[in-house]
Point group: C2
């Protein structure tokens, strides 16, 4: 049978196709696979790239002569701030370096906003608070808001970033809308890059809430899969020009540069908002792990060192993405039941299957030994209204397992589509 | 002039004494000293004891085979939990190991209580909340409560711990009283040890608030200055026996065992409350720095390793405490204008001067080049109603500087007292 859009098949052709997919699926199930495409975790080989950290630091003083082993230094050591200020295109006084988790910094900022209020507003606790959530998006962002009882308003995530017109029209009229999530460069999960135009709209749009914040999660700013090395929009400068300097708060980390569990996280925003953050932070800690920060500085030496290091990650990651794409291309093209992204960076491929079949695909894959992120994960409250989106993360498994898992996914997509169209 | 209680001196004798102290003080000022007894920071020599950490870990897998470099492991690695469970006399499932700051864990628990509520109560945000604060106490504890808008009720800190009768009578009748701070073993700043009897009263007393919590900051549990090695009351078992298993939450860290800025912090409480903590924590982080935890495990090997290590700290610290005590004894005994503690552990000596003179002593010392913690620091809102208490921290400076600083403090105490009695 030639490859055709499944919707154009006759009833008999569809029966035949469904039977063929069931047979193929049963063969895969019989293999007893145990594969995992769920989370954006680095592989062991990627972690090995940073094992030079284990023997560092070679000294216990930073450039200013401060003993990194002792208390203090709330903003982090200057050298690591300076290094990532350069890489993220930020002024030194606009960035702080903290512990091992940028998610923890997002949580901190949200709890400070809830309990103490922004520099331009009252505490959010006790107020009705809503956030704009470009979808599909990052499940942990949405879970954090759900935890805090913040209402989530989905808006479309487009190829050039969040739908800024939708964001603007919502934010202009509802003072309860206090923020938006953006993963600007290589979005999670679509891989799309927020353009300078969209970033400009987001920092410029009038908002009914004076304390509207853009949570700019720059998790993959340096995580290129091609030599194009797309630049991330300079949201902090753009916001400054737009007269809304306190609107964006940028987060980043070395979690997917060095060790996922033992890196350094960064927060960048206006000088005034850095002071607000540090003032609040200072009540709850005496300072971050400066030894680990110095360890990272010695390991990288300079920005070129980080870039060279990211090139090694690319060598390990790009073939896995290529393999996943190759199999989706080979197996799914022409049936008109799925589309998927071809990211130039980041950690994910976003797969949209026939409406109403994502849960079934995930269920089928699970029964065939391939773990996928639960249906709806990329949506607030885990509700994908079209039951369409599946996030694929090929970084952790070895390439042979990516191949095997992708074959299962492709078969499940076709089987679920045929089932749906037959019903 | 023989040493006599200053209050028994005649006017002429007091004039003479005052003049002598002014002369002594002026001589000290002329020396142009720059000394610091403010914070309980370890000295470089103490930090050097842990430099074996810098070449560790030698492996990247924990005992369960988990790669410590990657994401995950919210509770911390089992080996470090097990090590400190033994040292702190806790069951393994009742303790978690986190990042570098126990203060950050206290902040986290307080923000979870504010925003989400305890397992036995509603969110504290929006309610009137009060805490019992034994005084003198730890300034950062009080600052954290002030930051959160929690009202602080001072109660006496006695030689056997917080005044449990005062605590019981207040907590029994006011449902807004939600907690108490306790630094049980070697209190900050008095060095006093909370007895099993007092601990039993605190965990047993009826409280009007069902979600009353004891913040049991066991910062100095292993930090002995004598071979007596006082045991810390087993508050978690006592609370269990009393039928209030969720009342105490214990905090501890290696900040004053290994590196003050790069250690591992611990939280211990009932199994159910550990689950509550981890459930909330999981929204805001994927896991602590497990590499640093494994580094610590390899460095210590076992509980005996930690105890031996603490013996080395004692060798460095005990002479500084002895020197500070010696000078206070020599210079202040007999004048009846000051009392001070003689701690068997911890990081501080608490000095009570003539009522109404602590601020003046600190001002005089500053002008003579000796930095002391600001007056009132050991009290909520920095208000010492008797203007009496000064916290002395001899750990950081070399012993010669402890001598010099103690001489200045003694002179300032006598001068301020003479001024006060003459006025």
């Amino acid at each position: 049978m030639t490859v055709r859009a499944l919707s154009t098949l006759s009833a008999d052709e569809l029966d035949e196709f469904l039977a063929a997919q069931r047979t193929a699926y049963d063969t895969l199930v019989a293999r007893g696979l145990s594969l995992d495409l769920t989370r954006g975790k680095p592989s062991s080989a990627q972690l090995d790239l940073s094992d030079g950290l284990l023997g560092l630091p070679s000294t216990t003083k930073d450039a200013s002569g401060t003993d990194v082993r002792n208390y203090g230094g709330l903003a982090g050591i200057t050298e690591i701030r300076s290094l990532f200020a350069e890489l993220l295109n930020i002024d030194l006084e606009q960035i702080v370096a903290q512990g091992n988790s940028s998610l923890a910094l997002m949580r901190e900022v949200l709890t400070f906003l809830m309990l103490k209020g922004a520099i331009d507003g009252a505490p959010w606790a006790g107020q009705k608070v809503k956030f704009l959530c470009p979808v599909p998006g990052y499940d942990r962002h949405f879970a954090l808001l759900e935890w805090l009882g913040i209402e989530m308003i989905p808006i479309p995530m487009n190829a050039d970033g969040p739908d800024a017109d939708a964001a603007a029209s919502l934010a202009a009229n509802d003072p309860a809308i206090k923020g938006i999530w953006v993963v600007p460069t290589y979005a999670n999960p679509t891989g799309d890059v927020t353009s300078v135009e969209v970033a400009t709209k987001l920092v410029s749009m009038p908002t009914a809430a004076p304390d509207f914040k853009i949570f700019w999660d720059n998790a993959y700013a340096l995580h290129h899969l091609t030599s194009a090395e797309t630049k991330s929009a300079d949201v902090i400068s753009l916001a400054n020009v737009a007269g809304n300097p306190h609107r964006p708060i940028m987060f980043a980390s070395t979690s997917k540069i060095t060790y996922a569990g033992a890196g350094v996280a960064f927060l960048a925003t206006s000088k005034e908002q850095i002071a607000w953050y540090a003032d609040n932070l200072g009540f709850g800690t005496i300072g971050p792990d400066k030894v680990n920060q110095l360890r990272h500085v010695e390991f990288f030496k300079d920005a070129a060192g980080v870039r060279a290091h990211m090139g090694k990650h690319r060598e390990l990651l790009a073939p896995k993405f290529a393999e996943l794409s190759r199999i989706l291309d080979e197996r799914l093209t022409g049936y008109d039941v799925a589309t998927w992204t071809n990211p130039a960076g980041g950690y994910f491929i976003s797969l949209n299957v026939l409406d109403g079949t994502a849960s079934r695909v995930i269920e089928l894959a699970k029964a065939a030994g391939v773990a996928l992120t639960p249906a709806g994960s990329a949506f607030p409250l885990k509700f994908d209204p079209n039951d369409r989106n599946i996030r694929l993360a090929p970084s952790l498994p070895p390439i042979a397992e990516v191949t095997g898992a992708a074959e299962v996914v492709a078969t499940c997509v076709l089987l679920a589509a045929a089932e749906k169209l037959s019903s």
